[in-house]
């Protein structure tokens, strides 16, 4: 057991992955000498050298496109996109190449590429630094998409993502980088592509991932005080979805709420609502409700607290689903 911040857990996970496999290479803007703007790669260039921790030119398509070539040569690139809002110059390479090459080559060219993206708001940043683009990637077959919510998952899931033979878009809740928790470096972690019940409950099933898991747990805590029993599930994997535990839960509770920061329309909540409704139709006492960002341009930071789902908005919708 060691206590780590989420950021440090990612750093340790990267270090472990690099020690375990000499083919693991880190690429990104400012990740070497600086250690990354969030210091997630701190110290790694010093210890593994510039050939394995590559400070790249300022071009996201270049980062992903050259990672594809490195993967073809047998490497396992781990690419850092500096902020969520800056993944789009690489979108063409991710969607038309990274996601398709395994199928195009019928398995002859695996793409074991990990794309790390710090995502979400709440840090008072300027434009493009607080986006939640995960649905774009979950809608893209050929990619696997995960989001971590706590230090232990950060440590283990990052290593699992790097070891995964398929491309993984790895979302990191940037506003939780500084959250601390105990990490058992010897445990056997659950599979990468699995969701997990993080709080048991009977009245409502509350689904979250990434930064919103903490918010969901706080909401459940507050609701408990009012005698409401909320079951909280950390989805962890966004593509593929692991809805087994969700369906088991919803069949008991009959009520389901999904929360995420991303804009509500066509966010992950839409897909989950559609699937859960199909699989649990006769158990549902109310429609699956969503708490997400409003369908507006991410606002200037003075307004982000009003834009982002928080404890109150979650409880507000929980009340709606209970009262339906």
């Amino acid at each position: 057991m060691t206590t780590l911040t989420l950021g440090k857990a990612l750093n340790s996970g990267l270090r472990k992955a690099m020690e375990d496999d000499p083919k693991v290479i880190l690429m990104g803007e400012d990740i070497g000498r600086l250690g990354g703007v969030f210091r997630i790669t701190d110290g790694l260039q010093k210890d593994f050298g510039e050939a394995r921790v590559v400070d790249t030119p300022l071009a996201e398509a270049g980062i992903i496109g050259t990672a594809v070539g490195l993967a073809m040569r047998g490497y396992r690139p781990v690419c850092e996109i500096q902020f969520d809002g800056f993944v789009f110059p690489a979108f063409n390479q991710i969607v038309t190449q990274v996601a398709k090459i395994h199928a195009r080559s019928r398995g002859r060219l695996p793409m074991p590429i990990t794309i790390r993206i710090p995502f979400g708001g709440g840090i008072g940043a300027v434009e493009h630094h607080s986006e939640s683009p995960e649905a774009y990637f979950a809608h893209t077959t050929g990619l696997k998409v995960v989001a971590v919510s706590n230090p232990a998952d950060a440590y283990w899931m990052l290593q699992q993502a790097i070891a995964c033979p398929d491309p993984v878009v790895f979302f990191e809740p940037k506003r939780r980088y500084w959250d601390k928790a105990d990490v058992d470096l010897d445990e056997t972690p659950p599979p990468l592509l699995s969701s997990r019940v993080v709080r048991a409950g009977d009245d409502v099933t509350l689904l979250a991932y990434g930064p919103m898991v903490k918010t969901a747990l706080q909401a459940a805590e507050a609701a408990a005080a009012d005698g409401q029993s909320i079951e909280v599930i950390d989805l962890r994997t966004l593509s593929p979805l692991d809805l087994g535990p969700v369906e088991e839960s919803v069949r008991r509770t009959g009520r389901c709420v999904v929360v995420h920061e991303a804009q509500t329309t066509l966010g992950l909540g839409a897909e989950i609502a559609a699937r859960v409704t199909e699989s649990c139709f006769h158990s549902l006492e109310a429609p699956v409700l969503r708490v997400g960002g409003y369908d507006v341009t991410y606002p200037p930071s003075k307004l982000e607290e009003e834009y982002l789902p928080d404890l109150d908005r979650v409880l507000h919708v929980v009340d709606q689903v209970m009262g339906f």
Partner: protein, 387 residues
């Protein structure tokens, strides 16, 4: 840039590190336009004659001094928690004032997030820039009235906008409008973005009236210029079929002359120019950055000797074009400006929550109108609650 020996040492093991490095400081000569030496000596350049009045010289000094004062105040406000972040222009005042003052009223400028000096030259209220970094808005000025686009944070994206705008100028000209040009700002790091290179290609193909003004401040956050290019950036333009020129970015006179010439060339239909203003980011990338992690203090000391304001001050005083009273007056004006910025910042009202719903579309959708209504209803629910 000066790759300090220690950083060199780190750099060597990387594949490709054999490649040539940039000169510590480009000498003068055709490849480096300079009209005012670091020591404040006025030198001539055959291609870029500049005949300038003493008044103009003094007003250039005033601009340089005032934007630095603004910048210092903004940094202080950020430290005191009044701004979320601040991107300092320290060291780049001459590049920005020189370029900004070269613009005509009909020209349109496309800044990055660091062009406070150009904003100043375009008469943008500093508080309208401050409000962005405070998180009140995404840019408070009127880009149409000021002919100064909103800051573009996505590296390089504005270069295509400037080129398209220039294509619009060409089409208006066909409809006999006054000739104008677009001025796109970019950094050395931005030159690696595909979109920026596309802008150069489009500008060449359509011979668009656009000037690309690249402030090579030697760094893209922590990445030294060698990360982006092994040869001087201005040379890239020739490969796309138009002229590139490297100017001393810490020499406001040279920047003014070179940018004026390029804009004139664009307006008269002779096509684009790429200007590399060779300068140095004397401060951190932003207030969130810690440059000590990636560069050595010695480098900064060296560049202090090339300070853009000091050299003009030296020239003005030595030549007797300005006296102590003048400099004192500018300092006083700077303090007033700083006080006004501080007061305006502290008194800046927070935006209303409904703001975020009101500008997504020119024609608002029912969806967003409905979300706006439920937003108000939801918050009305808290009325009276303590919070």
């Amino acid at each position: 840039m000066t790759a300090a020996p220690e950083i060199q040492a780190i750099a060597d093991p990387v594949p490709g590190a054999g490649a040539p490095h940039l000169p510590a400081q480009p000498g003068s000569g055709p490849d480096f336009v300079q009209l005012l030496t670091p020591e404040g000596e006025r030198v001539e350049n055959a291609d870029y004659a500049l005949d300038i009045s003493d008044d103009e010289l003094r007003s250039l000094y005033r601009d340089l001094a005032l934007v630095r004062r603004w910048d210092v105040e903004a940094t202080a406000l950020q430290r005191q928690g009044e701004l979320g972040i601040w991107a300092s222009l320290l060291g780049q005042e001459a590049a920005q004032i020189g370029a900004g003052r070269a613009l005509g009223p009909q020209d349109m400028a496309f800044p990055t997030y660091r062009e406070h000096g150009v904003a100043w030259a375009r008469d943008v209220d500093p508080l309208h820039v401050i409000s962005l970094f405070r998180g009140n808005d995404l840019g408070g000025w009127d880009p149409v009235a000021r002919k100064f686009n909103l800051y573009t944070v996505v590296i390089g994206a504005q270069c295509l906008h400037a080129t398209g705008y220039a294509m619009g100028i060409q089409r208006d000209a066909a409809m006999t409008e006054a000739p104008a040009a677009a001025l796109a700002f970019l950094g050395d790091g931005a030159t690696s973005q595909g979109e920026v290179n596309e802008a150069l290609i489009w500008a060449a193909t359509f011979s668009a009236p656009v000037v690309f003004f690249c402030q090579n401040n030697q760094y893209a956050i922590s990445a030294p210029i060698e990360t982006q290019s092994r040869v001087p950036l201005f040379q890239r333009a020739a490969g796309f079929g138009f002229p590139g020129v490297r100017v001393d970015g810490n020499d406001v006179l040279a920047v003014l002359a070179v940018t004026r010439a390029a804009l004139a060339r664009a307006r008269e239909g002779s096509g684009p120019t790429f200007i590399e203003a060779f300068t140095y980011r004397m401060g951190a990338h932003t207030t969130s950055d810690d440059p000590t992690r990636y560069r050595l203090a010695g480098e900064l000391e060296e560049w202090k000797l090339r300070d853009p304001i000091a050299r003009l001050k030296a020239h003005l005083s030595r030549s007797g074009k300005a006296d102590a009273a003048f400099f004192a007056a500018v300092d006083a004006e700077g303090d007033e400006l700083a006080a006004r910025i501080r007061k305006g910042t502290l008194e800046m009202p927070d935006p209303a929550g409904t703001e975020m719903f009101d500008h997504v579309y020119a024609e608002q959708t029912e969806e967003i109108a409905a979300q706006r209504a439920s937003f108000l209803e939801y918050h009305a629910g808290f009325e009276g609650d303590e919070q």
